[in-house]
Amino acid sequence: MSRCRSNEHRRSLGLLAGLVLALLPEPGRAQACCAGAIAGQLGRLALHEEALVGLTLRAERTLGSFGDDGAYRPYGSEALLFEESLFGNVRLGERVQASAFVPLVQNHVRTRREWGFGGGLGDVQLSARYDFLFAGESVRIPGIAVLAGLGLPTGRAPEETTHPLGVEATGRGGVRAWGGLAIEQGFGPAFAQLQALLLHDVRRSADGREYGGRWGYDASLLLGASLPSELTLALVARLEAQPEGARHLWRLGMSGGYPLRSWRLQAGFFLDPPFDGLGRNENVRLGIHLAVTRTWT
């Protein structure tokens, strides 16, 4: 028993030592170059990359929800979402990036009386980015990029489900379009990015009811740093809101990225803080993600 525990201690110490070593500077190595894209955004090309493809695995658990009064109420049931997505991005010229995101979604819900599991193809996303000025290109002016995208209704809409718990729903049901600006700058090994997007759910009708037709916005602040071991870490705070629908939600997250020659590993977690007033008419979730990306320079 004591020997077992001693082995566990040794293993823990080994893991701790490994982590410390990974964070320490190593002679002959250096920080990841131009690391803004490494940790912060999934599927974004770094400065010298021409294309990438990747796979991401995501798991989310619904913890509760914010009501119309903004009060948080814990969820009595178990609701899990799993998503496996293929993504790709290609550089068109020096300043344009075009990307696609194809998710497979599975839902698992268990209540006291019943449970259900379902899923399928989610909403495919197509997006583009144009960097007017790259971060670091100018001392005085930060990097400025225009972003635009389209979410296609390739998933199953909530109203199309037959299961009482709606577990087959994998998409929004309608087209979502977005566009906005990203401003970012590096400060030595640290970097910051401010992003603001205007969202629009295109109006649609189903079963005699009208959906969508509403505007919203998504604003986020990302702060990150490249550690000497080439590991890049980023913290992100995000607010998504749809004023017409009286909905909003704050989300906090942390992610890390590590380059491996032509590969990149990314992982992270997020939490919608379950405190009254930090959301309205939205579910509160906790999630993790892991991504592996192959890049070409």
Partner: protein
């Protein structure tokens, strides 16, 4: 101008452009002789650095770029290996470049070559330099014989990296044209 005249001009330009495609850009004699503040002496020109050597390697430098730091050992090795026949110089073309930074960084990095200070980016503009570690090989006439990265390695200094700058120097010293003569650069932006 009539549409037919305009079309003739466009056609002429399209036909003539390829004739210039292979021409090697060159630094003007004025720029070769122009003195810049230097880490080694009050001021040095590219001609001063090259002296009677056959080739001159100009590497654009950034004090804060991790890729630059990663490539320092390879650049120093090249300067030591080819020093008899090839002159090396680093140029700090960032808007924040200063003599103080140049002196401090040369000492810290043990560069066996000087760092020239060019905050106005005169040399960067003339040689189309946008990134740190971008290296240009000039011959005795100031013609650009190679331009691009030190190697195809971003920061890990892997053993199987293609050593573009070294290969270009070997080819040029053997009287051949480097292949490739233009390569991609891995480095941070020169902050202008």
């Amino acid at each position: 101008m009539r549409p037919t005249d305009f079309a003739c001009v466009v056609l002429f330009v399209l036909l003539v452009l390829p004739l210039f495609a292979g021409a090697e850009p060159a630094l003007s004699p004025d720029l070769l002789e122009r003195p810049f503040p230097s880490s080694d002496s009050p001021s040095l020109s590219l001609a001063d650095v090259r002296r009677d050597r056959e080739l001159l390697v100009v590497t654009f430098f950034s004090a804060s770029c991790p890729c630059q730091r990663a490539h320092d050992p390879r650049l120093i090795d090249l300067a030591k290996a080819f020093g008899d026949r090839v002159a090396f110089v680093a140029v700090d073309a960032a808007a924040t470049a200063s003599l103080e930074i140049a002196r401090r960084e040369k000492e810290r990095r043990n560069y066996p070559f000087p760092i020239l200070v060019d905050p106005e980016g005169v040399l960067a503009d003339a040689l189309d330099a946008r990134f740190a570690t971008y290296s240009v090989v000039l011959d005795t006439a100031g013609r650009v014989r190679y331009a691009g990265g030190i190697d195809d390695d971003r920061n890990r200094l892997r053993p199987d990296a293609r050593l573009h700058l070294r290969d270009a120097l070997l080819a040029l010293l053997a009287g051949k044209d480097p292949d490739p003569a233009r390569t991609k650069v891995f480095g941070c932006f020169l902050r202008r």
